[in-house]
């Protein structure tokens, strides 16, 4: 029992560290895409793996901690709002979709990608007090589908190759 708990703590740390590194890598190519907010979302690989290997509570926890850490390290208070809204909405949607057991990792990831961007647009609307950014939603909606699909495939291939189950599941 005690061993399992230690194992679990180590897994949390490992996944959070991995998410941080991936966030950093992604921040190195900020102007890669033409629209602000458009990105691949590599850290979602970590959240998906936590979700499938450990469970929804663990995935939510890893997601929350990595958003907090990434925003404090690379961002500011505003980016924390955006990241929290996007990350948490996407996380919750993915958990609910997985619970239905009707979709594979691909579908779950695609929905996560789309709702990540929806969350960010909603916060941008509130913070900037403007409706005009709705026009970005279209671009970010489609790019969310594409990014989610890529991330879903990467996560599936990664999970397949992971040897032992992480933590208890």
């Amino acid at each position: 029992m005690r061993k399992q708990r230690t194992r679990q703590i180590a897994d949390y740390g490992l996944l959070t560290a991995l998410a941080l590194v991936l966030s950093y890598l992604e921040s190195l190519v900020p102007a890669f895409f033409a629209v602000p907010g458009m990105k691949l979302g590599l850290t979602n690989v970590v959240v998906l793996i936590a979700l499938y290997r450990m469970g929804w509570k663990q995935a939510l926890a890893v997601n929350f901690v990595r958003i907090l850490l990434v925003s404090m390290t690379f961002g500011n208070a505003f980016s924390l709002f955006y990241a929290m809204a996007g990350g948490m909405l996407s996380g919750i949607v993915m958990i609910l979709l997985k619970k239905t057991e009707k979709f594979s990792m691909l579908g779950v990831s695609v929905a996560g990608g789309v709702f990540h961007n929806v969350g960010q647009i909603l916060v941008a609307m509130l913070l900037l007090e403007t409706w005009q950014i709705v026009s970005y939603l279209l671009v970010l909606w489609v790019s969310g589908i594409a990014a989610g699909a890529v991330i879903g495939i990467i996560s599936y291939e990664t999970l397949k190759r992971l040897p032992a189950p992480l933590g208890h599941s």
């Binding site: 033409a34 579908g107 929905a111 409706w131």
Partner: protein, 125 residues
């Protein structure tokens, strides 16, 4: 471990694409011709011009950021910028109300408004 792709995934993606199509349609149908060009630096309005004018507007943000905006026959584009990524220049021409060109590094926002006078929407003081 389940298969990497299932029928429901395809349905989900197709459904999301349909929503995108509807969104595109709504955005296209609801767009209005622009009337004014509003230049903002952060939340501060730096200038506004009628879209019908023909003008070259230099924009300096006071911190080394310089952009040159072109307004001609109802169309607006960023001619030059000294920012590193030049996304605002690459963004090309805009003409409809609600469209904007944003130069993030220089914190310059160029918006087209559908009103003749500057409305207070989108501007927080």
């Amino acid at each position: 471990m389940k298969a990497s792709i299932r029928k429901n995934d395809i349905l989900l993606i197709a459904g999301l694409l349909v929503v995108a199509g509807v969104l595109a349609l709504v955005l296209t149908l609801s767009r209005r011709d622009g009337r004014m060009v509003v230049i903002r630096y952060g939340s501060e309005v730096r200038g506004q011009y009628a879209l019908s004018e023909t003008l070259i507007v230099p924009i300096e943000n006071g911190q080394g950021g310089e952009n040159i905006l072109h307004i001609e026959k109802g169309v607006v584009w960023m001619e030059e910028a000294n920012c590193p990524d030049k996304l605002c220049v690459q963004q090309g021409k805009i003409k409809y109300a609600g469209e904007s060109i944003i130069c993030l590094p220089n914190a310059v926002v160029v918006e087209i408004s559908g009103n003749d006078e500057l409305a207070l929407d989108g501007v927080t003081n």
